[in-house]
Amino acid sequence: MSDIDMIDQSITFESKVQWFEEIMDTYGTAIQRLVFTYVKEYSTAEDLTQEIFLKVYRKIHTFQHDSSLKTWVYRIAINHCKDYLRSWYCRHIVVNDQVDHHAVSDGVRPDQQLIKKVEEEHLVQLVFTLPVIYRESIYLYYYEDLTIKMISQLTGAKENTVKGRLKRGKALLKKQLEQEGYHEGSFN
Protein backbone atom coordinates (compact mmCIF):
# COMPACT_ATOMS: atom_id res chain seq x y z
CA MET A 1 0.00 0.00 0.00
CA SER A 2 1.48 3.33 -1.01
CA ASP A 3 1.33 6.55 0.97
CA ILE A 4 -1.68 7.91 -0.80
CA ASP A 5 -3.68 4.88 0.19
CA MET A 6 -3.38 6.09 3.73
CA ILE A 7 -5.87 8.67 4.77
CA ASP A 8 -6.96 8.49 8.34
CA GLN A 9 -9.02 10.27 10.90
CA SER A 10 -6.27 12.70 11.82
CA ILE A 11 -6.40 14.36 8.42
CA THR A 12 -6.16 18.14 8.41
CA PHE A 13 -7.17 20.66 5.80
CA GLU A 14 -3.61 20.98 4.48
CA SER A 15 -3.06 17.24 4.33
CA LYS A 16 -6.36 16.82 2.53
CA VAL A 17 -5.35 19.22 -0.21
CA GLN A 18 -1.94 17.58 -0.45
CA TRP A 19 -3.53 14.16 -0.64
CA PHE A 20 -5.86 15.37 -3.34
CA GLU A 21 -2.94 16.71 -5.36
CA GLU A 22 -1.22 13.35 -5.07
CA ILE A 23 -4.33 11.57 -6.30
CA MET A 24 -4.38 13.83 -9.36
CA ASP A 25 -0.65 13.30 -9.96
CA THR A 26 -1.01 9.54 -9.68
CA TYR A 27 -4.26 8.95 -11.55
CA GLY A 28 -4.79 12.07 -13.69
CA THR A 29 -3.63 10.74 -17.01
CA ALA A 30 -4.99 7.23 -16.41
CA ILE A 31 -8.42 8.62 -15.59
CA GLN A 32 -8.43 10.94 -18.57
CA ARG A 33 -7.59 8.03 -20.88
CA LEU A 34 -10.24 5.88 -19.27
CA VAL A 35 -12.77 8.67 -19.75
CA PHE A 36 -11.71 9.13 -23.35
CA THR A 37 -12.34 5.44 -23.95
CA TYR A 38 -15.95 5.99 -22.94
CA VAL A 39 -16.67 9.37 -24.52
CA LYS A 40 -14.33 9.33 -27.56
CA GLU A 41 -13.91 13.09 -27.53
CA TYR A 42 -10.90 15.01 -26.29
CA SER A 43 -12.46 18.11 -24.78
CA THR A 44 -15.32 16.14 -23.20
CA ALA A 45 -12.74 13.81 -21.66
CA GLU A 46 -10.99 16.82 -20.12
CA ASP A 47 -14.19 18.27 -18.71
CA LEU A 48 -15.38 14.97 -17.27
CA THR A 49 -11.97 14.27 -15.73
CA GLN A 50 -12.14 17.57 -13.87
CA GLU A 51 -15.68 16.77 -12.68
CA ILE A 52 -14.52 13.35 -11.53
CA PHE A 53 -11.68 14.75 -9.46
CA LEU A 54 -13.98 17.32 -7.89
CA LYS A 55 -16.29 14.45 -6.99
CA VAL A 56 -13.33 12.59 -5.50
CA TYR A 57 -12.49 15.65 -3.44
CA ARG A 58 -16.06 16.08 -2.29
CA LYS A 59 -16.15 12.45 -1.18
CA ILE A 60 -12.72 12.10 0.37
CA HIS A 61 -14.23 11.70 3.84
CA THR A 62 -16.35 8.78 2.62
CA PHE A 63 -13.37 6.77 1.38
CA GLN A 64 -13.24 3.48 3.28
CA HIS A 65 -10.28 1.20 3.45
CA ASP A 66 -12.32 -1.80 2.44
CA SER A 67 -11.39 -0.99 -1.14
CA SER A 68 -8.13 0.33 -2.51
CA LEU A 69 -7.86 3.97 -3.43
CA LYS A 70 -7.47 3.03 -7.07
CA THR A 71 -10.69 1.01 -7.04
CA TRP A 72 -12.49 3.85 -5.36
CA VAL A 73 -11.29 6.53 -7.78
CA TYR A 74 -11.89 4.35 -10.84
CA ARG A 75 -15.38 3.49 -9.70
CA ILE A 76 -16.25 7.15 -9.32
CA ALA A 77 -14.81 7.79 -12.79
CA ILE A 78 -16.62 4.89 -14.48
CA ASN A 79 -19.96 5.76 -12.94
CA HIS A 80 -19.50 9.39 -13.90
CA CYS A 81 -18.80 8.41 -17.52
CA LYS A 82 -21.84 6.16 -17.63
CA ASP A 83 -24.02 8.89 -16.17
CA TYR A 84 -22.73 11.18 -18.88
CA LEU A 85 -23.37 8.67 -21.67
CA ARG A 86 -26.96 8.14 -20.63
CA SER A 87 -27.58 11.85 -20.07
CA TRP A 88 -30.00 13.67 -22.26
CA TYR A 89 -27.23 15.99 -23.40
CA CYS A 90 -25.01 13.22 -24.61
CA ARG A 91 -27.73 11.28 -26.38
CA HIS A 92 -29.21 14.26 -28.16
CA ILE A 93 -26.47 16.77 -28.74
CA VAL A 94 -23.14 15.04 -29.04
CA VAL A 95 -22.00 13.23 -32.10
CA ASN A 96 -19.61 10.67 -30.73
CA ASP A 97 -17.52 10.04 -33.75
CA GLN A 98 -14.40 12.02 -33.24
CA VAL A 99 -11.69 9.39 -33.17
CA ASP A 100 -9.27 10.01 -35.98
CA HIS A 101 -9.61 7.53 -38.72
CA HIS A 102 -6.59 6.89 -40.86
CA ALA A 103 -7.49 4.83 -43.83
CA VAL A 104 -4.98 2.38 -45.20
CA SER A 105 -3.40 4.11 -48.15
CA ASP A 106 -3.31 2.09 -51.31
CA GLY A 107 -1.11 2.40 -54.32
CA VAL A 108 2.33 2.76 -52.79
CA ARG A 109 3.77 -0.30 -51.12
CA PRO A 110 4.54 0.88 -47.60
CA ASP A 111 7.50 -0.36 -45.61
CA GLN A 112 7.08 -2.71 -42.67
CA GLN A 113 7.13 -0.03 -40.03
CA LEU A 114 4.44 1.92 -41.73
CA ILE A 115 2.33 -1.20 -42.13
CA LYS A 116 2.68 -1.79 -38.43
CA LYS A 117 1.62 1.75 -37.63
CA VAL A 118 -1.35 1.59 -39.93
CA GLU A 119 -2.36 -1.74 -38.41
CA GLU A 120 -2.10 -0.32 -34.91
CA GLU A 121 -4.20 2.66 -35.80
CA HIS A 122 -6.72 0.40 -37.43
CA LEU A 123 -6.94 -1.89 -34.41
CA VAL A 124 -7.50 1.08 -32.09
CA GLN A 125 -10.08 2.44 -34.46
CA LEU A 126 -11.93 -0.88 -34.42
CA VAL A 127 -11.87 -1.06 -30.63
CA PHE A 128 -13.49 2.36 -30.55
CA THR A 129 -16.31 1.20 -32.78
CA LEU A 130 -17.26 -1.55 -30.32
CA PRO A 131 -20.36 -1.03 -28.18
CA VAL A 132 -19.37 0.50 -24.86
CA ILE A 133 -19.84 -2.64 -22.72
CA TYR A 134 -17.27 -4.54 -24.81
CA ARG A 135 -14.95 -1.58 -25.18
CA GLU A 136 -14.99 -1.03 -21.43
CA SER A 137 -14.06 -4.63 -20.63
CA ILE A 138 -11.40 -4.81 -23.31
CA TYR A 139 -9.87 -1.53 -22.21
CA LEU A 140 -9.74 -2.46 -18.54
CA TYR A 141 -8.35 -5.90 -19.33
CA TYR A 142 -5.80 -5.14 -22.03
CA TYR A 143 -4.88 -1.53 -21.39
CA GLU A 144 -5.19 -1.33 -17.63
CA ASP A 145 -4.08 -4.92 -17.20
CA LEU A 146 -6.74 -5.54 -14.55
CA THR A 147 -8.04 -8.92 -13.42
CA ILE A 148 -11.53 -10.13 -14.25
CA LYS A 149 -12.35 -9.84 -10.57
CA MET A 150 -11.24 -6.23 -10.44
CA ILE A 151 -13.15 -5.37 -13.62
CA SER A 152 -16.21 -6.94 -12.07
CA GLN A 153 -15.78 -4.76 -8.98
CA LEU A 154 -15.32 -1.63 -11.03
CA THR A 155 -18.16 -2.11 -13.46
CA GLY A 156 -20.68 -3.84 -11.22
CA ALA A 157 -21.01 -6.74 -13.67
CA LYS A 158 -20.60 -10.33 -12.50
CA GLU A 159 -17.26 -12.00 -13.25
CA ASN A 160 -18.85 -14.34 -15.75
CA THR A 161 -20.50 -11.43 -17.47
CA VAL A 162 -17.13 -9.70 -17.78
CA LYS A 163 -15.60 -12.87 -19.23
CA GLY A 164 -18.48 -13.12 -21.68
CA ARG A 165 -18.09 -9.51 -22.75
CA LEU A 166 -14.35 -9.91 -23.30
CA LYS A 167 -14.94 -13.00 -25.40
CA ARG A 168 -17.71 -11.42 -27.41
CA GLY A 169 -15.77 -8.19 -27.89
CA LYS A 170 -12.76 -10.09 -29.15
CA ALA A 171 -14.93 -12.19 -31.43
CA LEU A 172 -16.40 -9.04 -32.96
CA LEU A 173 -12.92 -7.64 -33.54
CA LYS A 174 -11.59 -10.85 -35.07
CA LYS A 175 -14.56 -11.12 -37.36
CA GLN A 176 -14.03 -7.59 -38.54
CA LEU A 177 -10.30 -8.12 -39.05
CA GLU A 178 -10.84 -11.37 -40.95
CA GLN A 179 -13.42 -9.77 -43.18
CA GLU A 180 -10.88 -7.13 -44.02
CA GLY A 181 -8.36 -9.77 -44.91
CA TYR A 182 -5.91 -9.49 -42.07
CA HIS A 183 -4.05 -12.74 -41.99
CA GLU A 184 -2.69 -15.01 -39.29
CA GLY A 185 0.04 -13.26 -37.35
CA SER A 186 -1.17 -9.75 -37.83
CA PHE A 187 -0.63 -7.43 -34.92
CA ASN A 188 2.00 -9.61 -33.33
Binding site: D25, Y42, K59
Partner: protein
Protein backbone atom coordinates in the same frame (compact mmCIF):
# COMPACT_ATOMS: atom_id res chain seq x y z
CA UNK B 1 -5.31 -15.69 -35.54
CA UNK B 2 -3.46 -14.89 -32.34
CA UNK B 3 -4.97 -12.52 -29.85
CA UNK B 4 -4.96 -9.26 -31.79
CA UNK B 5 -5.29 -7.28 -28.59
CA UNK B 6 -1.96 -8.25 -27.03
CA UNK B 7 -0.47 -5.03 -28.33
CA UNK B 8 -3.46 -2.84 -27.69
CA UNK B 9 -1.79 -0.81 -24.97
CA UNK B 10 1.20 0.10 -27.10
CA UNK B 11 -1.05 0.81 -30.05
CA UNK B 12 -3.28 3.12 -28.03
CA UNK B 13 -0.35 4.95 -26.43
CA UNK B 14 1.15 5.60 -29.84
CA UNK B 15 -2.05 6.70 -31.52
CA UNK B 16 -5.18 7.93 -29.84
CA UNK B 17 -3.63 8.56 -26.41
CA UNK B 18 -0.60 10.48 -27.57
CA UNK B 19 -2.58 13.65 -26.87
CA UNK B 20 -4.51 12.46 -23.83
CA UNK B 21 -2.62 13.57 -20.73
CA UNK B 22 -3.70 15.24 -17.56
CA UNK B 23 -1.79 18.52 -17.67
CA UNK B 24 -0.57 20.72 -14.82
CA UNK B 25 -2.91 23.35 -16.13
CA UNK B 26 -5.87 21.06 -15.63
CA UNK B 27 -4.61 20.12 -12.21
CA UNK B 28 -4.34 23.75 -11.14
CA UNK B 29 -7.75 24.57 -12.56
CA UNK B 30 -9.21 21.74 -10.49
CA UNK B 31 -7.40 22.92 -7.36
CA UNK B 32 -8.89 26.39 -7.86
CA UNK B 33 -12.35 24.91 -7.62
CA UNK B 34 -12.06 22.93 -4.43
CA UNK B 35 -12.62 25.89 -2.12
CA UNK B 36 -16.17 26.20 -3.39
CA UNK B 37 -16.76 22.56 -2.62
CA UNK B 38 -15.51 22.96 0.95
CA UNK B 39 -17.86 25.89 1.42
CA UNK B 40 -20.82 23.95 0.07
CA UNK B 41 -20.06 21.03 2.33
CA UNK B 42 -19.62 23.26 5.34
CA UNK B 43 -22.98 24.86 4.60
CA UNK B 44 -24.58 21.45 4.53
CA UNK B 45 -23.04 20.30 7.78
CA UNK B 46 -24.10 23.53 9.47
CA UNK B 47 -27.66 23.08 8.24
CA UNK B 48 -27.64 19.49 9.47
CA UNK B 49 -26.32 20.54 12.88
CA UNK B 50 -28.91 23.29 13.23
CA UNK B 51 -31.60 20.84 12.20
CA UNK B 52 -30.85 18.88 15.34
CA UNK B 53 -30.85 21.87 17.66
CA UNK B 54 -30.43 25.64 17.67
CA UNK B 55 -26.84 26.53 18.47
CA UNK B 56 -24.34 29.34 18.78
CA UNK B 57 -21.31 29.66 16.55
CA UNK B 58 -19.17 28.47 19.43
CA UNK B 59 -21.36 25.37 19.87
CA UNK B 60 -20.90 24.63 16.19
CA UNK B 61 -17.13 24.90 16.43
CA UNK B 62 -17.13 22.53 19.43
CA UNK B 63 -19.27 20.13 17.45
CA UNK B 64 -16.92 20.33 14.47
CA UNK B 65 -13.96 19.64 16.74
CA UNK B 66 -15.57 16.46 18.00
CA UNK B 67 -16.13 15.13 14.49
CA UNK B 68 -12.75 14.16 13.07
CA UNK B 69 -13.97 13.76 9.51
CA UNK B 70 -15.26 17.34 9.52
CA UNK B 71 -12.05 18.94 10.65
CA UNK B 72 -10.35 19.09 7.29
CA UNK B 73 -13.25 21.18 6.06
CA UNK B 74 -12.70 23.87 8.59
CA UNK B 75 -9.35 25.41 7.85
CA UNK B 76 -9.89 28.24 10.26
CA UNK B 77 -12.72 29.17 12.58
CA UNK B 78 -13.20 32.54 10.95
CA UNK B 79 -14.42 30.78 7.89
CA UNK B 80 -17.28 29.24 9.84
CA UNK B 81 -18.55 32.69 10.80
CA UNK B 82 -18.27 33.90 7.22
CA UNK B 83 -20.39 30.99 6.08
CA UNK B 84 -22.90 31.49 8.87
CA UNK B 85 -23.22 35.08 7.70
CA UNK B 86 -23.73 33.98 4.11
CA UNK B 87 -26.38 31.47 5.17
CA UNK B 88 -28.20 34.20 7.06
CA UNK B 89 -28.11 36.44 4.01
CA UNK B 90 -29.57 33.65 1.91
CA UNK B 91 -32.17 33.31 4.66
CA UNK B 92 -31.47 29.63 5.05
CA UNK B 93 -30.82 30.25 8.73
CA UNK B 94 -31.87 32.96 11.17
CA UNK B 95 -30.58 34.08 14.53
CA UNK B 96 -31.71 35.51 17.86
CA UNK B 97 -29.73 37.06 20.71
CA UNK B 98 -29.99 35.66 24.21
CA UNK B 99 -31.05 38.03 26.95
CA UNK B 100 -28.01 37.47 29.12
CA UNK B 101 -25.66 40.18 30.23
CA UNK B 102 -23.31 39.23 27.48
CA UNK B 103 -25.76 38.13 24.79
CA UNK B 104 -24.95 35.19 22.56
CA UNK B 105 -26.17 34.80 19.01
CA UNK B 106 -28.13 31.58 18.58
CA UNK B 107 -28.67 30.30 15.07
CA UNK B 108 -31.69 28.33 13.90
CA UNK B 109 -32.80 26.73 10.69
CA UNK B 110 -35.29 28.65 8.51
CA UNK B 111 -37.90 27.22 6.18
CA UNK B 112 -35.60 27.74 3.19
CA UNK B 113 -32.76 25.99 5.00
CA UNK B 114 -34.97 23.01 5.85
CA UNK B 115 -36.03 22.79 2.22
CA UNK B 116 -32.43 22.93 1.10
CA UNK B 117 -31.45 20.22 3.54
CA UNK B 118 -34.20 17.85 2.49
CA UNK B 119 -33.42 18.42 -1.18
CA UNK B 120 -29.83 17.44 -0.62
CA UNK B 121 -30.84 14.37 1.32
CA UNK B 122 -33.06 13.24 -1.53
CA UNK B 123 -30.19 13.49 -3.96
CA UNK B 124 -29.38 9.82 -4.15
CA UNK B 125 -25.71 9.25 -4.35
CA UNK B 126 -25.12 6.33 -6.61
CA UNK B 127 -21.48 7.04 -7.20
CA UNK B 128 -20.32 4.15 -5.12
CA UNK B 129 -23.26 1.88 -5.58
CA UNK B 130 -22.41 -1.13 -7.61
CA UNK B 131 -25.57 -1.87 -9.47
CA UNK B 132 -26.42 1.69 -10.33
CA UNK B 133 -27.36 0.63 -13.79
CA UNK B 134 -26.56 -1.66 -16.64
CA UNK B 135 -25.72 -0.33 -20.04
CA UNK B 136 -28.34 -1.07 -22.57
CA UNK B 137 -26.16 -2.22 -25.40
CA UNK B 138 -29.03 -2.81 -27.77
CA UNK B 139 -29.97 0.83 -27.59
CA UNK B 140 -26.42 1.95 -28.23
CA UNK B 141 -25.51 5.58 -27.98
Amino acid sequence: MKDPLINLKAAMDKTVFSEVNFSDQQKNRTLDLIETIDDQQLELFILAALHQTDQSGYDLICWFEKEPQLQPLLNDEGRLYIILHQLEQKQWIGSTWTSEKRPIKIYHLNKLGKKQLSMTKKETDDVLSHNAWQLNFKGGW
